[in-house]
Symmetry: C2
Subunit: 232 residues, 2 copies
DNA sequence: ACACTAAAAAGTGTCGACAATCTTGATTTC
DNA sequence: GAAATCAAGATTGTCGACACTTTTTAGTGT
Protein backbone atom coordinates (compact mmCIF):
# COMPACT_ATOMS: atom_id res chain seq x y z
CA UNK A 1 0.00 0.00 0.00
CA UNK A 2 1.21 3.46 -0.83
CA UNK A 3 1.95 6.42 1.33
CA UNK A 4 -1.26 8.09 2.36
CA UNK A 5 0.36 11.36 3.32
CA UNK A 6 -1.24 14.00 1.19
CA UNK A 7 0.77 16.29 -1.00
CA UNK A 8 -0.05 19.94 -0.47
CA UNK A 9 -2.80 20.85 -2.82
CA UNK A 10 -2.21 23.10 -5.79
CA UNK A 11 -3.58 26.56 -5.36
CA UNK A 12 -2.85 26.70 -1.66
CA UNK A 13 -0.27 29.39 -1.38
CA UNK A 14 1.56 27.24 1.13
CA UNK A 15 5.28 27.06 0.75
CA UNK A 16 5.50 24.88 -2.29
CA UNK A 17 9.20 25.54 -2.49
CA UNK A 18 9.37 26.39 -6.18
CA UNK A 19 8.49 22.90 -7.24
CA UNK A 20 5.44 21.90 -9.18
CA UNK A 21 2.77 19.49 -8.05
CA UNK A 22 4.02 16.98 -10.58
CA UNK A 23 7.47 17.29 -9.03
CA UNK A 24 6.14 16.51 -5.59
CA UNK A 25 4.09 13.62 -6.88
CA UNK A 26 7.18 12.28 -8.57
CA UNK A 27 9.27 12.52 -5.41
CA UNK A 28 6.55 11.01 -3.27
CA UNK A 29 5.90 8.11 -5.61
CA UNK A 30 9.58 7.46 -6.05
CA UNK A 31 9.92 7.14 -2.29
CA UNK A 32 6.91 4.82 -2.07
CA UNK A 33 8.31 2.57 -4.76
CA UNK A 34 11.88 2.53 -3.49
CA UNK A 35 10.82 1.77 0.06
CA UNK A 36 8.40 -0.90 -1.03
CA UNK A 37 5.10 0.71 -0.05
CA UNK A 38 4.09 0.11 -3.63
CA UNK A 39 4.82 -3.54 -4.17
CA UNK A 40 7.14 -4.52 -6.98
CA UNK A 41 5.16 -5.74 -9.95
CA UNK A 42 1.87 -4.27 -8.77
CA UNK A 43 -0.37 -2.45 -11.20
CA UNK A 44 -0.74 1.31 -11.02
CA UNK A 45 -4.19 2.78 -11.55
CA UNK A 46 -4.05 6.40 -12.61
CA UNK A 47 -7.53 7.37 -11.36
CA UNK A 48 -6.98 5.71 -8.02
CA UNK A 49 -3.57 7.29 -7.43
CA UNK A 50 -4.83 10.66 -8.55
CA UNK A 51 -7.62 10.47 -5.98
CA UNK A 52 -5.29 9.33 -3.25
CA UNK A 53 -2.95 12.25 -3.81
CA UNK A 54 -5.79 14.62 -4.50
CA UNK A 55 -4.35 15.65 -7.84
CA UNK A 56 -5.50 15.55 -11.42
CA UNK A 57 -4.60 12.70 -13.69
CA UNK A 58 -2.57 15.04 -15.86
CA UNK A 59 -0.16 15.95 -13.12
CA UNK A 60 0.05 12.37 -12.01
CA UNK A 61 0.84 11.24 -15.53
CA UNK A 62 3.76 13.63 -15.70
CA UNK A 63 5.13 12.05 -12.57
CA UNK A 64 4.61 8.55 -13.99
CA UNK A 65 6.42 9.56 -17.16
CA UNK A 66 9.46 10.47 -15.14
CA UNK A 67 9.31 7.33 -13.04
CA UNK A 68 9.31 5.45 -16.30
CA UNK A 69 12.48 7.21 -17.44
CA UNK A 70 14.04 6.25 -14.12
CA UNK A 71 13.19 2.65 -14.77
CA UNK A 72 11.13 2.34 -11.61
CA UNK A 73 7.90 1.60 -13.43
CA UNK A 74 7.09 0.10 -16.81
CA UNK A 75 4.38 1.50 -19.05
CA UNK A 76 2.57 -0.08 -21.93
CA UNK A 77 0.42 1.98 -24.25
CA UNK A 78 -3.28 1.65 -23.64
CA UNK A 79 -2.62 -0.85 -20.89
CA UNK A 80 -1.06 0.98 -18.00
CA UNK A 81 1.90 1.09 -15.69
CA UNK A 82 3.32 -1.45 -13.26
CA UNK A 83 5.98 -1.10 -10.62
CA UNK A 84 9.11 -2.73 -11.98
CA UNK A 85 9.87 -6.32 -10.91
CA UNK A 86 12.99 -7.11 -8.95
CA UNK A 87 15.12 -10.05 -9.96
CA UNK A 88 18.44 -11.55 -9.09
CA UNK A 89 19.59 -10.97 -12.60
CA UNK A 90 18.63 -7.32 -12.42
CA UNK A 91 20.57 -6.90 -9.21
CA UNK A 92 23.70 -8.46 -10.70
CA UNK A 93 23.39 -6.27 -13.78
CA UNK A 94 23.20 -3.27 -11.50
CA UNK A 95 26.43 -4.27 -9.81
CA UNK A 96 28.27 -4.58 -13.11
CA UNK A 97 27.19 -1.11 -14.14
CA UNK A 98 28.13 0.29 -10.77
CA UNK A 99 31.52 -1.36 -10.94
CA UNK A 100 32.21 0.39 -14.22
CA UNK A 101 30.86 3.80 -13.29
CA UNK A 102 32.03 4.03 -9.71
CA UNK A 103 35.42 2.72 -10.69
CA UNK A 104 35.69 5.61 -13.13
CA UNK A 105 34.31 8.05 -10.56
CA UNK A 106 36.96 6.95 -8.14
CA UNK A 107 39.71 7.40 -10.69
CA UNK A 108 38.48 10.88 -11.54
CA UNK A 109 38.15 11.77 -7.88
CA UNK A 110 41.77 10.83 -7.37
CA UNK A 111 42.96 12.76 -10.41
CA UNK A 112 40.98 15.93 -9.75
CA UNK A 113 40.96 15.88 -5.99
CA UNK A 114 40.35 19.18 -4.25
CA UNK A 115 41.22 20.06 -0.69
CA UNK A 116 37.56 20.42 0.15
CA UNK A 117 36.70 16.96 -1.18
CA UNK A 118 39.63 15.37 0.61
CA UNK A 119 38.67 16.97 3.90
CA UNK A 120 35.10 15.78 3.57
CA UNK A 121 36.07 12.25 2.67
CA UNK A 122 38.51 11.98 5.55
CA UNK A 123 35.94 13.42 7.92
CA UNK A 124 33.31 10.97 6.79
CA UNK A 125 35.69 8.07 7.26
CA UNK A 126 36.35 9.09 10.86
CA UNK A 127 32.65 9.36 11.53
CA UNK A 128 32.15 5.85 10.21
CA UNK A 129 35.05 4.56 12.24
CA UNK A 130 33.54 5.86 15.45
CA UNK A 131 30.23 4.35 14.51
CA UNK A 132 31.81 1.03 13.76
CA UNK A 133 33.72 0.92 17.04
CA UNK A 134 30.55 1.70 18.94
CA UNK A 135 28.50 -1.17 17.60
CA UNK A 136 30.82 -3.99 16.72
CA UNK A 137 30.11 -4.02 13.01
CA UNK A 138 26.68 -5.54 13.30
CA UNK A 139 24.52 -3.70 10.92
CA UNK A 140 24.09 0.01 11.37
CA UNK A 141 27.10 0.85 9.31
CA UNK A 142 26.19 -0.91 6.13
CA UNK A 143 23.00 0.58 4.71
CA UNK A 144 23.61 4.24 5.50
CA UNK A 145 27.35 4.37 5.89
CA UNK A 146 28.11 2.44 2.77
CA UNK A 147 25.71 4.51 0.78
CA UNK A 148 27.19 7.67 2.14
CA UNK A 149 30.65 6.54 1.12
CA UNK A 150 29.79 5.72 -2.45
CA UNK A 151 27.72 8.83 -2.80
CA UNK A 152 30.51 11.15 -1.74
CA UNK A 153 33.13 9.53 -3.88
CA UNK A 154 30.93 10.03 -6.89
CA UNK A 155 30.34 13.66 -5.95
CA UNK A 156 34.09 14.16 -5.83
CA UNK A 157 34.50 12.91 -9.38
CA UNK A 158 33.64 16.34 -10.69
CA UNK A 159 31.93 14.82 -13.71
CA UNK A 160 28.37 16.13 -13.89
CA UNK A 161 27.13 13.39 -16.20
CA UNK A 162 28.57 10.67 -14.03
CA UNK A 163 27.15 12.22 -10.88
CA UNK A 164 23.73 12.56 -12.45
CA UNK A 165 23.69 9.04 -13.85
CA UNK A 166 24.65 7.46 -10.56
CA UNK A 167 23.12 9.68 -7.89
CA UNK A 168 19.91 10.70 -9.64
CA UNK A 169 19.18 7.53 -11.54
CA UNK A 170 20.91 4.29 -10.66
CA UNK A 171 21.09 4.77 -6.92
CA UNK A 172 17.31 4.74 -6.62
CA UNK A 173 17.29 1.31 -8.10
CA UNK A 174 20.07 0.29 -5.74
CA UNK A 175 18.06 1.56 -2.79
CA UNK A 176 15.00 -0.31 -4.01
CA UNK A 177 16.89 -3.59 -4.02
CA UNK A 178 18.37 -2.83 -0.60
CA UNK A 179 15.00 -2.14 0.95
CA UNK A 180 13.17 -5.04 -0.56
CA UNK A 181 15.73 -7.80 -0.70
CA UNK A 182 17.28 -6.60 2.56
CA UNK A 183 20.94 -6.55 1.67
CA UNK A 184 22.44 -5.97 5.09
CA UNK A 185 25.45 -8.02 4.22
CA UNK A 186 27.83 -9.09 7.00
CA UNK A 187 30.72 -7.41 5.28
CA UNK A 188 30.72 -4.37 7.54
CA UNK A 189 34.21 -4.73 8.97
CA UNK A 190 35.82 -5.64 5.73
CA UNK A 191 33.92 -2.97 3.83
CA UNK A 192 35.21 -0.33 6.20
CA UNK A 193 38.81 -1.37 5.65
CA UNK A 194 38.27 -1.31 1.91
CA UNK A 195 36.79 2.16 2.14
CA UNK A 196 39.87 3.29 4.04
CA UNK A 197 42.24 2.03 1.39
CA UNK A 198 40.24 3.61 -1.39
CA UNK A 199 40.34 6.99 0.26
CA UNK A 200 44.06 6.62 0.84
CA UNK A 201 44.55 6.03 -2.86
CA UNK A 202 42.51 9.11 -3.64
CA UNK A 203 44.53 11.16 -1.19
CA UNK A 204 47.69 9.91 -2.88
CA UNK A 205 46.30 11.00 -6.23
CA UNK A 206 46.72 7.49 -7.59
CA UNK A 207 43.77 7.24 -9.96
CA UNK A 208 44.67 3.86 -11.33
CA UNK A 209 44.87 2.25 -7.90
CA UNK A 210 41.77 4.02 -6.66
CA UNK A 211 39.81 2.62 -9.59
CA UNK A 212 41.11 -0.90 -9.09
CA UNK A 213 40.29 -0.86 -5.40
CA UNK A 214 36.81 0.48 -5.94
CA UNK A 215 36.06 -2.08 -8.61
CA UNK A 216 37.30 -4.87 -6.39
CA UNK A 217 35.20 -3.53 -3.53
CA UNK A 218 32.04 -3.56 -5.61
CA UNK A 219 32.87 -6.88 -7.19
CA UNK A 220 33.24 -8.42 -3.74
CA UNK A 221 29.73 -7.31 -2.86
CA UNK A 222 28.54 -8.72 -6.13
CA UNK A 223 30.08 -12.11 -5.46
CA UNK A 224 28.50 -12.09 -2.05
CA UNK A 225 25.08 -11.48 -3.58
CA UNK A 226 25.61 -14.00 -6.35
CA UNK A 227 26.43 -16.66 -3.79
CA UNK A 228 23.31 -15.92 -1.78
CA UNK A 229 21.18 -15.97 -4.90
CA UNK A 230 22.47 -19.34 -6.02
CA UNK A 231 21.64 -20.77 -2.61
CA UNK A 232 17.97 -20.01 -3.16
CA UNK B 1 14.27 25.80 -36.93
CA UNK B 2 12.50 22.55 -36.19
CA UNK B 3 11.17 19.87 -38.41
CA UNK B 4 7.92 20.96 -39.99
CA UNK B 5 6.83 17.47 -40.94
CA UNK B 6 3.53 16.85 -39.27
CA UNK B 7 2.98 13.92 -36.99
CA UNK B 8 -0.10 11.92 -37.89
CA UNK B 9 -2.98 13.41 -36.04
CA UNK B 10 -4.63 11.62 -33.18
CA UNK B 11 -7.94 10.13 -34.06
CA UNK B 12 -6.95 9.30 -37.60
CA UNK B 13 -7.13 5.57 -37.68
CA UNK B 14 -3.96 5.54 -39.73
CA UNK B 15 -1.37 3.00 -38.72
CA UNK B 16 -0.13 4.59 -35.56
CA UNK B 17 1.85 1.47 -34.80
CA UNK B 18 0.79 1.01 -31.19
CA UNK B 19 2.53 4.14 -30.04
CA UNK B 20 0.88 7.14 -28.52
CA UNK B 21 0.94 10.65 -29.89
CA UNK B 22 3.21 11.67 -27.04
CA UNK B 23 5.57 8.89 -28.08
CA UNK B 24 5.74 10.16 -31.63
CA UNK B 25 6.22 13.72 -30.47
CA UNK B 26 9.03 12.55 -28.27
CA UNK B 27 10.76 10.69 -31.08
CA UNK B 28 10.31 13.55 -33.51
CA UNK B 29 11.60 16.17 -31.10
CA UNK B 30 14.51 14.02 -30.08
CA UNK B 31 15.51 13.76 -33.71
CA UNK B 32 15.18 17.49 -34.22
CA UNK B 33 17.34 18.22 -31.22
CA UNK B 34 19.98 15.61 -31.94
CA UNK B 35 20.33 16.68 -35.55
CA UNK B 36 20.44 20.33 -34.67
CA UNK B 37 17.19 21.52 -36.22
CA UNK B 38 16.40 22.89 -32.80
CA UNK B 39 19.45 24.93 -31.93
CA UNK B 40 21.31 24.12 -28.74
CA UNK B 41 20.40 26.59 -26.04
CA UNK B 42 17.27 27.86 -27.78
CA UNK B 43 14.07 28.35 -25.86
CA UNK B 44 11.14 26.01 -26.32
CA UNK B 45 7.64 27.48 -26.38
CA UNK B 46 5.00 24.91 -25.56
CA UNK B 47 2.12 26.63 -27.37
CA UNK B 48 4.18 27.20 -30.48
CA UNK B 49 5.47 23.64 -30.66
CA UNK B 50 2.02 22.25 -29.95
CA UNK B 51 0.64 24.25 -32.89
CA UNK B 52 3.46 23.18 -35.17
CA UNK B 53 2.88 19.50 -34.47
CA UNK B 54 -0.87 19.93 -34.36
CA UNK B 55 -1.12 18.40 -30.91
CA UNK B 56 -2.38 19.51 -27.55
CA UNK B 57 -0.05 21.00 -24.99
CA UNK B 58 -0.67 18.07 -22.69
CA UNK B 59 0.72 15.53 -25.09
CA UNK B 60 3.59 17.81 -25.92
CA UNK B 61 4.43 18.25 -22.26
CA UNK B 62 4.66 14.50 -21.82
CA UNK B 63 7.20 14.43 -24.60
CA UNK B 64 9.15 17.32 -23.05
CA UNK B 65 9.18 15.54 -19.71
CA UNK B 66 10.89 12.60 -21.32
CA UNK B 67 13.36 14.74 -23.21
CA UNK B 68 14.22 16.26 -19.86
CA UNK B 69 14.93 12.84 -18.37
CA UNK B 70 17.17 12.15 -21.35
CA UNK B 71 19.10 15.32 -20.60
CA UNK B 72 18.39 16.80 -24.03
CA UNK B 73 16.45 19.76 -22.65
CA UNK B 74 16.46 21.60 -19.34
CA UNK B 75 13.29 22.73 -17.63
CA UNK B 76 12.74 25.33 -14.97
CA UNK B 77 9.44 25.61 -13.12
CA UNK B 78 7.25 28.45 -14.31
CA UNK B 79 9.91 29.54 -16.75
CA UNK B 80 10.13 26.95 -19.48
CA UNK B 81 12.40 24.58 -21.30
CA UNK B 82 15.55 25.15 -23.31
CA UNK B 83 17.51 22.81 -25.53
CA UNK B 84 20.61 21.79 -23.63
CA UNK B 85 23.87 23.64 -24.34
CA UNK B 86 26.85 21.80 -25.76
CA UNK B 87 30.27 22.36 -24.28
CA UNK B 88 33.73 20.94 -24.57
CA UNK B 89 33.59 19.93 -20.98
CA UNK B 90 30.33 18.10 -21.52
CA UNK B 91 31.82 16.21 -24.44
CA UNK B 92 34.84 15.12 -22.43
CA UNK B 93 32.62 14.02 -19.57
CA UNK B 94 30.65 11.96 -22.03
CA UNK B 95 33.81 10.21 -23.17
CA UNK B 96 34.79 9.30 -19.63
CA UNK B 97 31.42 7.74 -18.98
CA UNK B 98 31.53 5.89 -22.27
CA UNK B 99 34.99 4.58 -21.50
CA UNK B 100 33.72 3.09 -18.27
CA UNK B 101 30.48 1.65 -19.60
CA UNK B 102 31.63 0.43 -22.98
CA UNK B 103 34.72 -1.06 -21.42
CA UNK B 104 32.48 -3.08 -19.16
CA UNK B 105 30.15 -3.93 -22.05
CA UNK B 106 33.10 -5.24 -23.99
CA UNK B 107 34.26 -7.37 -21.08
CA UNK B 108 30.78 -8.84 -20.66
CA UNK B 109 30.45 -9.44 -24.39
CA UNK B 110 33.67 -11.45 -24.29
CA UNK B 111 32.63 -13.44 -21.25
CA UNK B 112 29.08 -14.24 -22.38
CA UNK B 113 29.66 -14.43 -26.08
CA UNK B 114 27.11 -16.36 -28.09
CA UNK B 115 27.59 -17.81 -31.55
CA UNK B 116 24.98 -15.47 -32.94
CA UNK B 117 26.71 -12.39 -31.53
CA UNK B 118 30.10 -13.52 -32.77
CA UNK B 119 28.78 -14.12 -36.25
CA UNK B 120 27.17 -10.71 -36.37
CA UNK B 121 30.26 -8.93 -35.12
CA UNK B 122 32.52 -10.68 -37.60
CA UNK B 123 30.08 -9.96 -40.40
CA UNK B 124 29.91 -6.30 -39.49
CA UNK B 125 33.66 -6.06 -39.45
CA UNK B 126 33.90 -7.46 -42.97
CA UNK B 127 31.31 -5.01 -44.17
CA UNK B 128 33.30 -2.16 -42.73
CA UNK B 129 36.50 -3.47 -44.24
CA UNK B 130 34.99 -3.47 -47.71
CA UNK B 131 33.71 0.02 -47.14
CA UNK B 132 37.06 1.19 -45.95
CA UNK B 133 38.91 -0.28 -48.92
CA UNK B 134 36.48 1.37 -51.29
CA UNK B 135 36.99 4.90 -50.07
CA UNK B 136 40.46 5.19 -48.68
CA UNK B 137 39.46 5.94 -45.13
CA UNK B 138 38.32 9.46 -45.79
CA UNK B 139 35.17 9.93 -43.87
CA UNK B 140 32.25 7.68 -44.65
CA UNK B 141 33.36 5.01 -42.25
CA UNK B 142 33.54 7.06 -39.11
CA UNK B 143 30.09 8.41 -38.27
CA UNK B 144 28.00 5.42 -39.21
CA UNK B 145 30.49 2.60 -39.06
CA UNK B 146 31.95 3.59 -35.75
CA UNK B 147 28.52 4.02 -34.27
CA UNK B 148 27.46 0.67 -35.61
CA UNK B 149 30.46 -0.98 -34.02
CA UNK B 150 29.96 0.43 -30.57
CA UNK B 151 26.26 -0.20 -30.73
CA UNK B 152 26.62 -3.89 -31.51
CA UNK B 153 29.27 -4.51 -28.91
CA UNK B 154 26.96 -3.09 -26.29
CA UNK B 155 24.09 -5.23 -27.54
CA UNK B 156 26.28 -8.28 -27.13
CA UNK B 157 26.96 -7.48 -23.48
CA UNK B 158 23.70 -9.17 -22.54
CA UNK B 159 23.20 -6.69 -19.70
CA UNK B 160 19.83 -5.01 -20.12
CA UNK B 161 20.63 -2.10 -17.86
CA UNK B 162 23.87 -1.38 -19.62
CA UNK B 163 22.25 -1.63 -23.03
CA UNK B 164 19.47 0.70 -22.00
CA UNK B 165 21.77 3.25 -20.41
CA UNK B 166 24.04 3.44 -23.43
CA UNK B 167 21.80 2.85 -26.41
CA UNK B 168 18.63 4.56 -25.21
CA UNK B 169 20.15 7.39 -23.24
CA UNK B 170 23.78 8.33 -23.65
CA UNK B 171 24.10 7.64 -27.36
CA UNK B 172 21.60 10.36 -28.20
CA UNK B 173 23.85 12.83 -26.51
CA UNK B 174 26.82 11.40 -28.40
CA UNK B 175 24.98 11.78 -31.68
CA UNK B 176 24.06 15.34 -30.78
CA UNK B 177 27.70 16.26 -30.30
CA UNK B 178 28.66 14.45 -33.50
CA UNK B 179 26.12 16.31 -35.57
CA UNK B 180 26.73 19.72 -34.14
CA UNK B 181 30.43 19.81 -33.45
CA UNK B 182 31.08 17.66 -36.53
CA UNK B 183 33.38 15.04 -35.12
CA UNK B 184 34.51 13.38 -38.32
CA UNK B 185 37.88 12.64 -36.87
CA UNK B 186 40.67 11.50 -39.20
CA UNK B 187 41.16 8.34 -37.19
CA UNK B 188 39.31 6.10 -39.62
CA UNK B 189 42.16 3.74 -40.51
CA UNK B 190 43.42 3.41 -37.03
CA UNK B 191 39.92 3.04 -35.62
CA UNK B 192 39.25 0.15 -37.94
CA UNK B 193 42.37 -1.70 -36.82
CA UNK B 194 41.41 -1.11 -33.22
CA UNK B 195 37.93 -2.45 -33.87
CA UNK B 196 39.48 -5.57 -35.35
CA UNK B 197 41.61 -6.24 -32.32
CA UNK B 198 38.71 -5.72 -29.97
CA UNK B 199 36.58 -8.23 -31.79
CA UNK B 200 39.44 -10.70 -31.79
CA UNK B 201 39.67 -10.41 -28.03
CA UNK B 202 35.95 -11.01 -27.75
CA UNK B 203 36.20 -14.04 -30.00
CA UNK B 204 38.98 -15.36 -27.80
CA UNK B 205 36.76 -14.89 -24.75
CA UNK B 206 39.38 -12.69 -23.14
CA UNK B 207 37.22 -10.24 -21.22
CA UNK B 208 40.08 -8.48 -19.52
CA UNK B 209 41.89 -7.73 -22.77
CA UNK B 210 38.69 -6.79 -24.56
CA UNK B 211 37.94 -4.24 -21.87
CA UNK B 212 41.42 -2.76 -21.94
CA UNK B 213 41.40 -2.43 -25.73
CA UNK B 214 37.99 -0.81 -25.78
CA UNK B 215 38.94 1.66 -23.09
CA UNK B 216 42.11 2.55 -24.93
CA UNK B 217 40.14 2.96 -28.14
CA UNK B 218 37.73 5.39 -26.54
CA UNK B 219 40.44 7.19 -24.65
CA UNK B 220 42.31 7.76 -27.91
CA UNK B 221 39.25 9.48 -29.36
CA UNK B 222 38.97 11.50 -26.21
CA UNK B 223 42.56 12.69 -26.43
CA UNK B 224 41.98 13.62 -30.01
CA UNK B 225 39.00 15.74 -29.05
CA UNK B 226 40.78 17.28 -26.08
CA UNK B 227 43.63 18.37 -28.30
CA UNK B 228 41.28 19.99 -30.79
CA UNK B 229 39.42 21.74 -28.03
CA UNK B 230 42.55 23.20 -26.49
CA UNK B 231 43.52 24.60 -29.89
CA UNK B 232 40.41 26.79 -29.90
C1' DA C 1 17.56 60.37 -20.39
C1' DC C 2 17.11 57.07 -16.62
C1' DA C 3 15.02 54.52 -12.94
C1' DC C 4 11.01 52.78 -10.98
C1' DT C 5 6.10 51.23 -11.12
C1' DA C 6 2.17 49.23 -12.95
C1' DA C 7 -0.60 47.13 -16.35
C1' DA C 8 -0.93 43.72 -19.99
C1' DA C 9 0.64 40.06 -22.68
C1' DA C 10 2.56 35.60 -22.95
C1' DG C 11 3.72 31.30 -20.89
C1' DT C 12 3.50 27.51 -17.66
C1' DG C 13 0.85 24.53 -14.25
C1' DT C 14 -3.39 22.24 -13.30
C1' DC C 15 -7.83 20.53 -14.02
C1' DG C 16 -12.15 18.12 -15.70
C1' DA C 17 -14.34 16.03 -19.70
C1' DC C 18 -14.58 13.33 -23.94
C1' DA C 19 -12.83 9.75 -27.23
C1' DA C 20 -10.39 5.51 -28.14
C1' DT C 21 -8.80 1.25 -26.32
C1' DC C 22 -8.38 -2.66 -23.36
C1' DT C 23 -10.40 -5.95 -19.99
C1' DT C 24 -14.00 -8.73 -18.03
C1' DG C 25 -17.78 -11.56 -17.79
C1' DA C 26 -21.89 -13.29 -19.87
C1' DT C 27 -23.79 -15.37 -23.97
C1' DT C 28 -23.74 -18.04 -27.96
C1' DT C 29 -22.15 -21.75 -30.83
C1' DC C 30 -19.94 -26.03 -32.10
C1' DG D 1 -18.01 -28.58 -21.84
C1' DA D 2 -14.74 -25.56 -24.25
C1' DA D 3 -13.82 -22.06 -27.49
C1' DA D 4 -15.31 -18.01 -29.73
C1' DT D 5 -18.27 -13.63 -29.67
C1' DC D 6 -20.03 -9.73 -28.02
C1' DA D 7 -21.53 -6.11 -24.77
C1' DA D 8 -20.64 -3.48 -20.53
C1' DG D 9 -17.43 -1.50 -17.55
C1' DA D 10 -13.15 0.45 -16.50
C1' DT D 11 -8.77 2.55 -17.94
C1' DT D 12 -5.78 5.11 -20.81
C1' DG D 13 -4.89 8.87 -24.33
C1' DT D 14 -6.03 13.46 -25.78
C1' DC D 15 -7.93 17.84 -25.62
C1' DG D 16 -9.44 22.70 -24.49
C1' DA D 17 -10.10 25.94 -20.71
C1' DC D 18 -8.86 28.32 -16.46
C1' DA D 19 -5.51 29.95 -12.67
C1' DC D 20 -1.28 31.50 -11.41
C1' DT D 21 3.73 33.26 -12.72
C1' DT D 22 6.90 35.36 -15.28
C1' DT D 23 8.20 38.55 -18.72
C1' DT D 24 7.42 42.45 -21.50
C1' DT D 25 5.67 46.87 -22.29
C1' DA D 26 3.86 51.30 -21.35
C1' DG D 27 3.75 54.99 -18.40
C1' DT D 28 5.11 58.12 -14.69
C1' DG D 29 8.07 60.93 -12.11
C1' DT D 30 12.62 62.86 -11.05
Amino acid sequence: MANTEQVTKAGEKALQGTQSLADRLFLSLRKDIVEGRMAAGSKISEPELARRFDASRGSLREALMRLDSLGLIERKVNVGARVVELSGRGLLELYDVREALEGMACRLAAENRSDADLAELRQMLERHQQQEELQAGTAYYQPEGDFDFHFRIVQASNNELLIDTLCNKLYYRVRMYRYQLGMASPRAHRAFREHSHIIEAIEAGDGELAEILMRRHIRASRSNIAKKLSNT
